[in-house]
């Protein structure tokens, strides 16, 4: 049986049953939870025998221009299903989120990576240091406004050559 993807509303319903008020939003693909409740929600998801989400597949930090979000992919090895959890921080300079390292040791390096490249501070991480870049590196390069490009975003690839409005200006 291939991996079953638990839908956002399904996960939200189960969380709400134990931790009312913890869910902020539920989309078909993911569930967004209160940052303050994140550790409690993960503890519930991990320990609940019907969910058994014991394996943290991946932890990704994303800069969405006006906020930061961290995406958790949680997998059950016994029941073979996968759930996607999100937590957001609306603080733009020094975003903070609780660390899930007490539950998932596998987050140690992944949170350090998100701190290094996006500057998300994980409260409760045992050893939050830069991972790839050296101490004293200016800023956090995966942020969209790194280098202070106009429009608060790296110019990036806006279109394809030959398309109307395509410009190669500002591309490295």
């Amino acid at each position: 049986m291939p991996t079953r993807f638990l839908s956002g509303p399904d996960v939200a319903r189960r969380i709400e049953g134990t931790l009312p008020g913890a869910v902020l939003a539920a989309e078909p693909q993911w569930t967004e939870v209160q940052p303050e409740q994140l550790v409690a929600v993960c503890t519930f998801l991990r320990n609940d025998p019907e969910l058994d989400l014991v394996f943290l597949c991946s932890l990704t930090g994303v800069h969405r221009l006006d906020h930061f979000e961290v995406v958790y992919h949680l997998q059950s090895l016994k029941l073979n299903h996968l759930a996607t959890l999100k937590a957001k921080s609306w603080e733009n300079e020094e975003p903070e989120l609780p660390s899930v390292t007490p539950l998932f040791s596998g987050a140690i390096f992944q949170e350090r990576e998100a701190y290094d490249l996006l500057g998300i501070r994980f409260q409760g991480h045992p050893d939050l240091r830069r991972l790839f870049l050296w101490d004293g590196f200016p800023g956090h390069p995966l942020r969209k406004d790194w280098l202070g490009m106009p429009g608060q975003r790296m110019s990036g690839l806006q279109g394809f050559p030959g398309e109307p409005g395509f410009s190669n200006e500002g591309r490295g």
Binding site: T3, T60, L157
Partner: protein, 365 residues
């Protein structure tokens, strides 16, 4: 009297670190009391660069993350984009993907086993044996796509080109001789005193710690957890082939080595079936060069030789990914290195690192 721990730096330039990787060990006499790793010497900021390049232009980056297994890197990324764009590769391409990935797994595991025995102290000879089969596989890659290491073979919606007529006979003769070669390696190494004395009972990782640390691939299976994404979430044509998942019992370096050895056999088994059932037909579907997947996100993952290789791609409807994240098994498999090394000696730490089988290009990205 209490003495300060003595700090030894292994690497970044050291033959046993398999790349530019630095291991900082604090020692009390012979015993390791703390271990820290310093990575980033090979950081090329691929995730940032990818945000400025179109979806197709990003495929070559995936060759250069895990440069010992470029085919699997290609596949994980194109699967994520296919999921995002709603594209399905034709049947022949699905089978070609299986063939290439299993060849790649054999080539990569051969290197992993060879360097591991090298680390144990059987200097160079076993490694050179492993290179013999790896060369033949790289020759096959060269036939299929013109490159040996940075293959850039998979495309969104298929593969870049069909295999040439000389590929099949060469692949079939390789698959025919592989079982005998694997027995030869097993005869040389499994009972070998050098390997057994150095690896058995060293670097034990219990199953519950392996799961907590998000370890994947042969390392997780070495700890006795039968978890393989080819079985759990079959991609390409893996749902139509028969194979077994080898697992270890003690979770030590020796078990991880045995699991890789057995996976060589299982990959050969998959190859036999895949070469036999390769259908005729097109190898890719026409997709626009200027592909703009609808806004959304996708997590594509596969079982690479090192473990769960995942690509988390977010599209904002533009020509380039909004976010391109690589879940690299090499980096995450290093998580339990510290706890496995504490209490051991330097010589053991080298074996433990060798048994994790990292590729620094993938650790640093």
């Amino acid at each position: 009297m209490k003495a300060e721990p003595f700090v030894v730096n292994i690497g970044p330039q050291h033959p046993s670190t398999h790349g530019v990787f630095r291991l900082k060990l604090s020692l009390d006499g012979e015993r390791i009391v703390d271990a820290d790793m310093v990575v980033g010497y090979l950081h090329r900021s691929m995730e940032k660069l990818a945000e400025e390049r179109s979806y197709t232009q990003n495929i070559p980056f995936t060759d250069r993350t895990d440069y010992l297994a470029a085919m699997t890197g290609n596949l994980a990324y194109v699967l994520a984009v296919e999921q995002l764009a709603g594209v399905e590769a034709p049947e022949r391409a699905q089978w070609l993907r299986v063939i290439m990935c299993e060849l790649q797994r054999i080539a990569s595991h051969a290197m992993a086993i060879g360097t591991f025995i090298n680390d144990c102290g059987a200097w160079q000879t076993p490694l050179m044996y492993m290179f013999r089969e790896r060369e033949k596989i790289l020759d096959l890659f060269e036939m299929a796509c013109g490159a040996r290491l940075t293959t850039n073979y998979m495309r969104i919606g298929g593969v870049s080109r069909d295999i040439p007529p000389e590929f099949m006979p060469a692949a079939l003769s390789l698959v025919k001789e592989l079982p005998q070669r694997i027995s030869e390696y097993e005869g040389l190494s499994i009972e070998n005193e050098i390997v057994v004395a150095r690896a058995r009972g060293v670097g034990i990782l219990p199953a519950e710690r392996a799961i907590a640390c998000s370890v994947s691939g042969p390392m997780l299976r070495g700890s006795g957890v039968a978890w393989d994404i080819r079985k759990a979430q079959p991609y390409a044509a893996y749902d139509r082939v028969q194979f077994d998942i080898p697992v270890g019992t003690n979770g030590d370096c020796y078990d991880r080595f045995l699991v890789r050895m057995e996976e060589l056999r299982q990959s050969t088994r998959i190859l036999e079936q895949a070469l036999d059932s390769l259908p005729e037909g097109p190898v890719n579907v026409a997709i626009p060069v200027a592909i703009r997947p609808p806004p959304g996100e996708a997590y594509g993952r596969i079982e690479s030789p090192r473990g769960e290789l995942g690509f988390y791609v977010i599209s904002d409807g533009g020509p380039a990914p909004f976010r391109f994240h690589i879940r690299s098994p090499s980096l995450i498999n290093l998580t339990p290195l510290r706890e496995m090394s504490i209490g051991m000696t330097i010589a053991d730490a080298i074996i433990i690192l060798g048994s994790i089988d990292i590729v620094v290009g993938e650790v640093d990205r």
